[in-house]
Amino acid sequence: MYRYDEFDEALVRERAAQFRGQVARRLSGALKEDAFKPLRLMNGVYLQLHAYMLRVAIPYGQLDPAKLRQLAMIADRYDKGYGHFTTRQNIQYNWIRLADMPDVLDALADVEMHAIQTSGNCIRNVTSDHLAGAAADEIEDPRPWCEIIRQWSTLHPEFSFLPRKFKIAVTAAETDRAAVRVHDIGLHIRRNGDGEIGFEVIVGGGQGRTPHVGVTIRDWIAKAELLSYLEAIMRVYNRFGRRDNKYKARIKILVNELGPEAFAEAVDTEYAAQGVHEAVLLPQGEIDRITEYFASPDLPERPARSVTFEAARAADPALDRWARVNLRRHRTPGYTSAYISLKSQGEAPGDMTGDQMRVAADIAEQFGFGDIRVAHEQDLVLPHLAIDDLPEVHRRLRDAGLAASNAGLASDLIACPGLDYCNLSNARSISVGNAIQAVFEDPEFEERVGPLHINISGCINACGHHHVGHIGVLGVDKKGEEYYQITFGGRADEKAAIGDIIGPALKGDDVAPALRRVIAAYLDLRKGPGEKFIDAYTRLGPAPFKEALYAVD
């Protein structure tokens, strides 16, 4: 993975020292909250329902054991023993005292981490495919490009005060696991007609109160031109994006108001007008230098099938289920990628204790070539595991309460912190999520239902990605009561779609029973076990699912 050079190191250290002074002035009363707030937000510090919350950047979701152990130490020493992994592949701490924040930033800097640009109207953490570098279906590893974009966008003087926050995602696989079509800019690494590798550029996707699926404004652009072209997009947005209304300030509104063709034309005009001194040069030598940091681990040759593993699997139904559900095909025979689900029944989605982080770090170090990823579905992934080692890996995960066998299934739901923690939320997400998980408590039933993404947000800001859940659940406030609006048909993959609002919102206690009826209807209506919920919904439309949702038990 990428290692800091002396410039990165100095920048992060100086920023932490600067924030230490700002915190001291705030605590002494020399700085008022109005002046301090933008400074703390630039360092990822929010004031949430119960306490200050710190959002730590995990660039493109990449961790190593040292980083994860440090995150565990911060959870134990400065928080209440846990952290919360987010849909932006970051981690949040919910209980840190302001006075401790500078020490936490120093501790992060010790392992080449920080919280810069995890808030504010700037380019946020660049996200990517959590199977990058391991997936059998990718054209090339997208992480070097995430890192190149990260370096270009970090403290970029022209783009530090954009009309609104800005999110970029990169994927390189035909199956989009990075949700690039619902980002401000999505980059899909593709080959052109000549077989050259470059980028499809998708702009104007996003969720929040005005969800949009992004549109392709360039089918393909060469690698060397990427940053200059991104710069042209950002300039058009920075110049024409609305600053008079925060609800209309995202680039999706601009793209929609101008129209994709006019927006693309404006970008092309800006791109063509860039002077030689303005172009962001990206020589092959620099691409190669960054790419070297992401070289595949040296994976010893192994047979494609493991007798050890297959014997263990035959003897242990729990291992067998975990292997069936949580493993993904690796590009190297004899290896696999494994999800560490952070969605055990009754737990807050994405939460992980410090002890669990240390277990995951130890496993990654001993068996996983030191590589750990955060998935935007709020799970961890060990991308490189020898199939021979899976019985021992599973045993250790199980002992740590980390072996939930539900990756990609219904109880592996996404949920924002909701009203239990968030100052903006209208309704709780975690409790309704736990109630929905209980519908799928029987693992055989859950497997029979098959792949299903249920996404829950506590408010219209959509941190829980409800718009793109196969089933979306949005918390709304109705005169002080928690209600939940249900959507069907959303998806965040290469066929991205915004879910259809089905009808009136349901009371909190009614959501799980209603979804139980919807699932029963789906099982009755599907062509067979091979037809996923989302495909059945696409084929049949909302009517039968709506009828089930509002039926009376």
């Binding site: 302001l98 239990d420 100052n423």
Partner: protein
Amino acid sequence: MSSARPRLAPETPKMVTAWDTATGRTVYMTPSREWSVNIADGAVLVGAAADDALAFAASDEGRATDPYVMQVSPLGEIDGREIIRETIRAVGPTNHPMFGKQAGNP
């Protein structure tokens, strides 16, 4: 303020609440204009007294951040349309009861 709160009529009983500047914990203004993490210590106010208390709170930034008034009953119990939110602020997250004030945490 971090998010918009409902407007309350002058005669509605209310309490001034904020976040402790150093820790971020939920605090309530007491009758002696101190700050307490315990809602039972909070002063129940109406009319101009509530406006005065809120103005004082806004000037007390060294100790309390983002003050606002929340609706309570005449006896100081959480009331009104934000009863769920304010109950969670007062006692802690419902999914992690061991982290909240109901578990004896400050």
